[in-house]
């Protein structure tokens, strides 16, 4: 009963690298991320019938993974936080970054973001999903995703001191422009 359409299988496999990167960025640990990916794939296979052909396989897998992570995170919350050290060690084949310091700094800044904001930012800014897709993955409104992404960026800019913020007032025009600006 465990057969799977080879085309579907290949689509799933094709989604794994990004799915895995997402998992690592969520839990900050490659081993746990791999377990998460594995569980996601098994879950996906078990429910492959509920996948609608023609829809976005990647988004579907990301949704499953995120939900798994969420429920696991709630369980493990107390025992976790083994952050920096193990992460760096397990990340073996990291390509040479021109600015490794910058990379580290960025990673740490990212860790400071609230979970909601971090995942929204990554989905939209790195995994290549639209705001609409990200909203579906996170099970929330598109506007919520937009504001999470905005807050995440602003916070990152502060943490990385990329720019001191302009103290904008409630400038509707500016906000509208920014909201419509990317993607």
């Amino acid at each position: 009963m465990n057969t799977i359409d080879p085309a579907l299988r290949d689509t799933m496999l094709g989604a794994v690298p990004s799915l895995r990167a997402f998992a690592i960025s969520l839990c900050g640990n490659v081993d746990r991320a791999d377990d998460l990916v594995q569980e996601t794939l098994l879950r996906a296979l078990a429910n492959i019938d509920s996948f609608q052909p023609g829809t976005n396989m990647s988004a579907w897998l990301f949704t499953i993974l995120r939900n798994l992570f969420r429920s696991e995170y709630r369980k493990r919350r107390r025992e976790v936080e083994d952050s920096d050290g193990s992460y760096a060690e397990t990340l073996k084949s990291q390509p040479e970054q021109t600015g490794h310091v910058e990379f580290e700094e960025f990673r740490k800044a990212l860790e400071h973001l609230p979970q909601d904001q971090r995942e929204a930012l990554i989905l939209v800014g790195a995994s290549g999903f639209s705001y609409e897709e990200a909203a579906e993955i996170c099970g929330c409104a598109v506007g919520t995703i937009k504001s999470r992404v905005n807050r995440a960026r602003t916070r990152l800019a502060q943490l990385l001191s990329i720019e001191s913020l302009n103290d904008f007032g409630p400038d509707v025009t500016t906000r509208a422009v920014l909201a419509g600006n990317d993607r």
């Binding site: 057969t3 496999l13 990167a21 084949s93 409630p170 500016t174």
Partner: protein, 78 residues
């Protein structure tokens, strides 16, 4: 001294220009005060970070899915 709750007759909306305390009601300070340049910089770093995490699919996942390809036996026909 009334609290501003009293709904007796409220005809003039309190948005005179000199009324400074209207402002803090909304504080979208965090909602988009970044320049495009800053956004671009963050976007760049974010992608660099993420790309650094992307690796070819580990064998275990390939095996996992291949195995399920073959319903009979263990599917060790490699």
């Amino acid at each position: 001294m009334h609290d501003r709750k009293s709904p007796e007759k409220v005809e003039t909306p309190p948005d005179k220009p000199d009324n400074m305390e209207v402002r803090p009601l909304k504080k979208p300070k965090d909602a988009g005060a970044l320049t495009r340049e800053t956004q671009a910089k963050i976007g760049q770093q974010l992608r660099a970070y993420y790309d650094g995490l992307v690796e070819p699919t580990p064998d275990r996942f390939v095996d996992l899915l291949r195995q399920l390809d073959k319903p009979t036996g263990k599917g060790s026909s490699e």
